[in-house]
Amino acid sequence: MIGFPILSLITFLPVLGMIIILFLKKEQTAVIKYTALAITALQVVLALVLLMNYNYSAAGVYEEKSFQFIEKFRWINITGISWLGTVKVDYFLGIDGLSMPMVILTALISFIATLSSWNINHSLKGYFALFLLLDTGMMGVFVSLDFFLFYIFWELMLLPMYFLIGIWGGPRKEYAAIKFFIYTLFGSVFMLLVMIGLYFSATETLADGSKVFTFNILQLMNSANYTADGILSSLNPNNMRFAAYIALFVGFAIKIPMFPFHTWLPDAHVEAPTPISVILAGVLLKMGTYGILRISYPVFPDVTKQLMWWIALFGVINIIYGALVALAQKDFKKLIAYSSVSHMGYVLLGMASLTSVGINGAIFQMFNHGTITAMLFLIVGVIYDRTHTRGLNDFGGLASQLPIYTGFVTVAFFAAIGLPSMSGFISEAFVFVGAFSIDAIRTLTIISTLGILLGAGYMLWTLQRIFFGPLNEKWANLKDLEFREYAMFIPLTIVIIFLGVYPSAMLNIMNTSVNSLVNLLSGNINITSISGF
């Protein structure tokens, strides 16, 4: 274990950067940029420190003592408001195999996104301040183990995102920003409802033996903690667990985004500046599926099992529907946005299997989608910077003009298609293996394999329209990649290929926790006997 509160540091480091930037002058653009870059680079270093000190055999999930890098203290402690009783909220951070990949991903993608922010050319100070605040919000979601804290970080990330799209976005930025904001808020309201409902249904036992209501996610998983008449307690015959599950699920589903709640995504992506698209696709979407795995699944294992077929169904709809709609797009960025919808479907399908292989695949897919789609959006950004167009039919023959760029594009596209030797293949294969092994969703799995055909269809068609054929003379003076762009593409390429060849590097991180989660879901362990420390 490490002697300092590393999770707080990795989470709030960007806020520190934000404060520094706020003290800088508007004109010091280079200093502002390099401050942001240094902060995100330091975050990557911290993520690596975490990785080096990471205990691969500690499960976490429901067991507090096997979480790692825990920080826990009483944050809000109001005793005796007449009818409310004691209100107690913990500042409770910790990571396990479900969150570790996401922490690494967030650090990596934030760093890459900072590099791609170099071309932002107005109000730099505000941009990077908000950008770093966003970073804190994302990281916070992945390290929080208290629902209240989780919720705060969840909402915290919303605000900078709204401004980053709304101010630095494209022509329809206001529309896209507001749509993103209201849609997510709509989901948050549901989440809030469930959170409060859970709070009043479960108690935790304090050191002095007294029982207080709790937001602690781990305590909420323990059915022994629920009060007999709690509205979300399974002991209560009139409980509303089923409805609460759906409400919470909708809150998360909007973020994924799951059909039919996905229409904010193409608009947000098309209008957002490149680095924000990278963050959005690379990290934000994962918060939805992460939330389901972190909260919905272990807190409501009973309902999860009832609804697995439906989760798989929506996964399959995402896969097929997203791919078919992508096929019809004429805007490069919109096409990638819909491909994102399709690829997130695999995450849902893998999760729905409730098997170790399937959930491993789902989390691995979250990570891989993060790196691969981030790269795809960077690719769109690079060509948009040079040509100021994203129309798929405006290009042609760029492969001979930009051979190195084309090389990276080929890597990213084939990674998205799920070519073996790249990371996406392993995660998709795991999802299929896991889902196929369950009788109830086997047919759905077979249908979903069509997604890998359609994926090849729209990706290769795009590759051809932009890069093959005779060179469009309009682009005869385009320059190939510059140093900064190499610095964005090379790390992602290395990660994608490394994890394709040696997937155990990532699977080993998550595997213990995933197995633990699966055991919890299948009722193999008796969580009621486990207590905190």
Binding site: A59, L84, L159, Y162, I178, K179, F181, I182, L185, V189, L192, L193, I196, Y199, D229, I231, P260, T263, W264, L324, V325, A326, L327, A328, T355, S356, V357, G397, A399, S400, L419, P420, S421, F425, I426, F432, V433, F436, S437, I446, T449, L450, I452, L453, L454, A456, G457, L460, Q464, F468, G469, S504, N511, V514, N515, S516, V518, N519, N524, I525
Partner: protein, 699 residues
């Protein structure tokens, strides 16, 4: 020499070809002369594979050598399903022969390409792509499990994509590359589902473990129907890769790639990977699955042969001929003639590579002319190309003294025996018909290209024999089309080392009641010795004996007929072809064949167009309906908030507080936000938390 040495050497052979690719990734075009390094590397790989083949056949003839390691393992917690994925190499006789074939042809193509591709602006990249291809193909050959097979299966797909689209400035080349990849993916999905069935049942991808489980009576999901399904689904991978009907359409288009690539990938090795896959899963095929395979193969060979009759592009004729011959191999596996299928794979690889490289030599010297109507008389100008081309043509036509005669005759005997044993006479009938057609169109090609008078004098005058590095590979490959390398008896392969000691039909592991009767071992021929020797009933052996001479005589007759007709048509002009074309009945057939039976057009109109239309339709649905609902509800909320605002302002009654909350809640979150004042949001959150706390408080 130890077993581990052979494994280690195989690993070296596998990874050597990647060196060239890595070089290009790291250095780009900096060292243009380094293509020689790649030629040297592949030569070393070839030399090693000769050594491995010799060692295996001489010292471990009846033993399979396996080396494997655990790649992924997720089983370290109690109660959960354990997943162990192994990667590994299996070296048996089939493997080492394939290793030899792939490396030999790859080496010859490398050498040939030095001259053929000279002057191309992406010269270094070309050799690096050949390197990835060779690596991927060797992976398919060496694997001991289905997952690794699938991985390298996709990787050859990638290298095929890159090489077909090598001249991507041409739209046709880019189209062909995309088509090849996508059509292959259709087959791959089937293969993948087949693999999923097997994995779900046996928790392993390893061939031998799966087969052992099946042999022990442990069937997928407990039924032989699923076993049949798994077999057919995995076979779908072969349908794609080996260009079998209905997925054969990509291969003729793939001729857009450089001709040496067509020789290596789209004639000799990659397309044969499908056949190789079926030989790998042969033992788990039930009678039903085999029948499907036989029918697909037979139909493919027939339809491709009929198209090859009328094509005018020298490479297209060869491409359809390849499809047809691959159909032959697949059919042969379907009828249980395992050894002949693999034998034909090997002999075909040599003579078809020779034909393609020969056509490349012609195209090269004719300045990229591919239309045989503009050729003729090249025999005098290009004697080496002509003679090697002719020898290979004789071989593919199945004339005695050639390798093609031996393997083809074996396949035909197999189909004849199959017809007699099962009553499916249509399959041998198709087999012999295709033999006649093959002899005809191949000699048509030779006559139109090399014989007679030149039809384009300008191009003819410039034509010249190709340089040594191009004709030497032709000579090597043509030599390998002679019988002596396979058997001392030119009329029967049975006595040859290839058949008698190297490759044997493995024993089926399927439940006995799901096999063809002739594949059930009878008590009489269960000798001792290692498994895999007792394979079928005495009846089958007898029937094969019975079939031997009729098949040989019949195949000689049909091949002779085909060759004779070709000469009558094109050399001696005894029959006027043009008149035949004008005839009403034959004209319909001619046009059908010339237009490839319009299969591509049918796919375009149905599947492709259908998918694109669905995409557009759903895109409309997404924008207008799904997103329309979102925007509609936003609009509705604004109306509600206006009404409640009005209500708040004007209505005076006892519910003032409630109204204030409601309009505040709705109004703030939606109306105000629409004007962009997000700051109010914070207030809203705090506000709603309090409301909700009140709401939930259990009094």
């Amino acid at each position: 020499m130890s077993e581990s040495l052979l494994i280690n050497l195989s690993i070296i052979i596998l990874f050597l070809p990647l060196a060239g690719f890595i070089k290009v990734v790291l250095f780009g075009k900096k060292f243009p002369k380094l293509y020689l390094l790649e030629v040297a590397i592949i030569s070393i790989a070839f030399a090693l594979s000769v050594f491995v083949m010799y060692s295996k056949l001489a010292y471990y003839n009846t033993k399979d050598i396996i080396g494997a390691f655990t790649w992924i393992s997720t089983g370290n917690a109690p109660f959960s399903d354990v997943l162990n994925i192994e990667l590994g190499i299996k070296i048996d006789n089939v493997t080492v022969i394939m290793l030899f074939v792939v490396n030999l042809i790859s080496m010859l193509v490398h050498i040939y390409s030095i001259e053929y591709m000279r002057g191309d602006k992406r010269y270094t990249r070309y050799f690096s792509y050949l390197g990835i291809f060779t690596f991927s193909m060797l992976g398919i050959v060496l694997t001991h499990n289905l997952l690794m097979m699938y991985i390298f299966w996709e990787l050859v797909g990638l290298s095929s994509y890159l090489l077909i689209g090598f001249w991507f400035e041409k739209k046709s080349a880019a189209d062909a590359a995309k088509k090849a990849f996508i059509v292959n993916r259709i087959g791959d999905i089937g293969m993948f589902i087949g693999i999923l069935i097997l994995f779900t049942s046996y928790k392993t991808f390893t061939f031998d473990t799966i087969f052992a489980q099946i042999a022990a009576g442990n069937l997928p999901f407990g039924s032989s129907a699923w076993l049949t399904a798994a077999g057919i689904l995995v076979f779908m991978g072969a349908v794609g890769k080996s260009a079998q009907f209905p997925l054969h359409v990509w291969l003729p288009d793939a001729m857009e790639g450089p001709t040496p690539v067509s020789a290596l990938i789209h004639a000799a090795t990659m397309v044969a990977a499908g056949v190789y896959l079926v030989t790998r899963i042969f033992v788990m095929l039930t009678a039903d699955a085999m029948l499907v395979i036989a029918v697909v193969g037979a139909f493919t060979s027939l339809i491709a042969a009929t198209i090859a009759l009328t094509q005018n592009d020298i490479k297209k004729v060869l491409a359809y001929s390849t499809v047809s011959q691959l159909g032959y191999m697949i059919m042969s596996l379907g009828v249980g003639a395992y050894v002949f299928a693999f034998f034909h794979l090997v002999t075909h690889a040599f003579f078809k590579a020779c034909l393609f490289l020969g056509s490349g030599s012609v195209i090269h010297s004719m300045h990229h002319e591919q239309d045989i109507r503009n050729m003729g008389g090249l025999k005098k100008k290009m004697p080496v190309t002509y003679w090697t081309f002719l020898i290979s043509t004789i071989a593919i036509s199945g004339v005695p003294l050639t390798s093609g005669f031996l393997s083809k005759d074996g396949i035909l005997a197999g189909t004849l025996a199959f017809g007699k044993l099962t009553g499916h006479w249509l399959i041998p009938i198709i087999g012999f018909t295709v033999a006649a057609l093959t002899a005809f169109y191949m000699f048509r090609l030779v006559i139109l290209t090399f014989h007679g008078e030149p039809r384009d004098h300008h191009k003819f005058d410039h034509a010249h024999e190709s340089p040594l590095v191009m004709i030497a590979p032709l000579a090597v490959l043509a030599t390998l089309s002679i019988f002596i390398f396979y058997t001392p008896n030119p009329l029967s392969p049975d006595a040859g080392w290839f058949m008698s000691s190297w490759v044997k039909t493995p024993e089926q592991v399927t439940p006995v009641d799901t096999r063809f009767d002739f594949l059930k071992p009878s008590a009489e021929n269960i000798h001792g010795g290692h498994h895999g020797e007792i394979v079928h009933s005495v009846l089958y052996t007898e029937t094969m004996h019975w079939a031997h001479y009729p098949a040989m005589i019949l195949s000689l007759v049909v091949a002779g007929l085909g060759i004779l007709t070709a000469f009558m048509f094109y050399q001696w002009k005894k029959i006027n072809v043009d008149k035949l074309i004008e005839n009403k009945f034959t004209n319909a057939l001619y046009r059908g064949s010339l237009n490839k039976w319009k299969i591509d057009e049918a796919y375009d109109a149905t599947a492709i167009n259908g998918t694109l239309q669905t995409g557009s339709g759903l895109s409309w649905f997404d924008q207008k309906i799904v997103d329309g609902a979102v925007n509609g509800s936003a609009r509705l909320t604004r109306i509600v908030s206006k009404i409640s605002g009005w209500f708040d302002t004007y209505a005076v009654d006892g519910f003032v507080n409630f109204t204030a909350f409601f309009s505040g809640f709705i109004g703030l979150s939606f109306r105000k936000l629409q004007t962009g004042k997000v700051q109010t949001y914070i207030v809203l959150v705090v506000f709603s938390v309090i409301i909700l706390l009140l709401f939930f408080k259990p009094f």
